[in-house]
Amino acid sequence: MPFSLLKFGLNKDYPFEKSPDLPQPSALKPAYDVVIIGGGGHGVATAYYLAKYHGITNVAVLDKAYLGGGNTARNTAVIRSNYLTPQGVRFYSESVRLFERLSNEFDFNIMYSQRGQLTLAHTDATVRAFRQRAEVNKHFGGRTELIDPVDIRELVPTLNLSPAGLPVLAGLWHQDGATARHDAVAWGYAKGATQRGVELHQLTEVTGIDVEAGRVTGVQTNRGRVSAGCVVQAVAGHSAELAQLAGFQMPIVAYPLQAMVTQPVKPFLNPLVSSSALHCYVQQTSRGEIVFGGGSDPYPLYGTRSTLDLKESLMASAVEMFPFMSEMRLMRQWAGITDMTSDYSPIMGLSPIENYYLDAGWGTWGFKATPISGVTMAQLIASGGKVPELIAPFSLDRFDAFRQVNEMGATAASH
């Protein structure tokens, strides 16, 4: 054992206590240039890029619970960009590129691991849709191709090629597909932001939003009022609720999404595998656990309670795909509230209130967009409301203009 380590072990002075990664909570200041509601990945990423690229550090991130405790901790950590529309592919591809260098940027390991994502087609219609997705993705510089069952067998030898009597006809092989440790992403951003002077206030719930003559002037919290130069909402599942506090509506419906994880086992599954027909996706984390995710609950609910029906059907699908998994034990299961939009694309940018910005409608696709959402929201705030080109298609008013960005086929059950 190196002597320095032994010396450190015997020392009563712990360096982390002197300079903690996240500074201790301080009192709220009476005013901030930017108030970000929601201390999840998106909120802290926005704060991080505001401080890093735009020099705006008089920023408060408020969270009613704790850092990254909502959907940032509940997603199944899939990173990919094989979407269907050019607008979607451009946006998510940029996010994948940012993820690739995030560990270096943070000097903190987010356990990013690019292993490729495989989506299975069981019908001719799905194969057709996959061809289109592969071409759109390639056009924008992504690595996606259609592969046949022989290649699939080679990639994932343990996969049942006829799950639930649905033969696998082809697969959409997305080499850029990856996974990362979702908590670490939030921690990395929070650390980088607070080091640059941003304040993170946990256990600070926003109870009201003060709007005067079409402009937001501040927010009411359970710890008092703070004035704000502008406000950003990044609260995922409760997006429509918060918008209601600010006095406008959003075309968002909250559905629970359930997932679960098995006990850790030796590595056997490298790519992330999902089946379009079984509504099930399976991946093995770097810790060896198998993560399952599936479709949303069958009806809207503002709750994170799990249901046996959904867990049963999800497990049945997973066992169809990997029959030997029936021997494995589940370790944890959970649900998150997803803010679904009707076109499966986010709502980003301007709101009916002048200096109140939206980062909402993230449904089941929010984690993979964390870095690029932070970058573009920071640009939007720093420019005082000039919408970056990358997020212009995701504006709230697209619904009134019937200009939806339809990503349903590329999103459902293949997060």
């Binding site: 959003m250 075309p251 909250a254 609910l301 503002y302 709750g303 009134d400 203009a401």
Partner: protein
């Protein structure tokens, strides 16, 4: 297993039912503006509280209305749609509806 009480079939497993969206008042399709129509199609009551929803009992294809709290998931009341539409439907369109209905004899 969660139980939903169907006005026609009594209490049944919720897996037998299909959610059909919220009960919304449709604007007149001829005279509504695009914005009104978009609002009708894409927006619904999306905050925490009691919502009025369409549900169908799949085996019997019977549609009814349920009043449910969208956070506690408590179903307060279920009833036949006639209870809601018999009172709000103008007399004229009611006649049209009857005329459109195929003869069953």
């Amino acid at each position: 297993m969660k139980i939903l009480s169907c006005p026609l079939n009594g209490p049944r497993n919720i897996a037998e039912f299909i959610y059909g969206g919220q009960v919304k008042e449709m604007p007149d399709p001829v005279h509504a503006t695009d914005q009104q129509w978009a609002h009708y199609v894409f927006y619904e009551h999306s905050h925490i509280g009691v919502v009025r929803e369409w549900w169908m009992h799949a085996p019997s294809s019977y549609w009814f209305i349920a009043e449910r709290h969208n956070q506690s998931d408590e179903v307060l009341r279920t009833y036949d749609p006639s209870e809601l539409f018999a009172q709000s439907e103008p007399q004229q369109s009611k006649t049209e509806l009857t005329l459109d209905r195929p003869e069953v004899s």
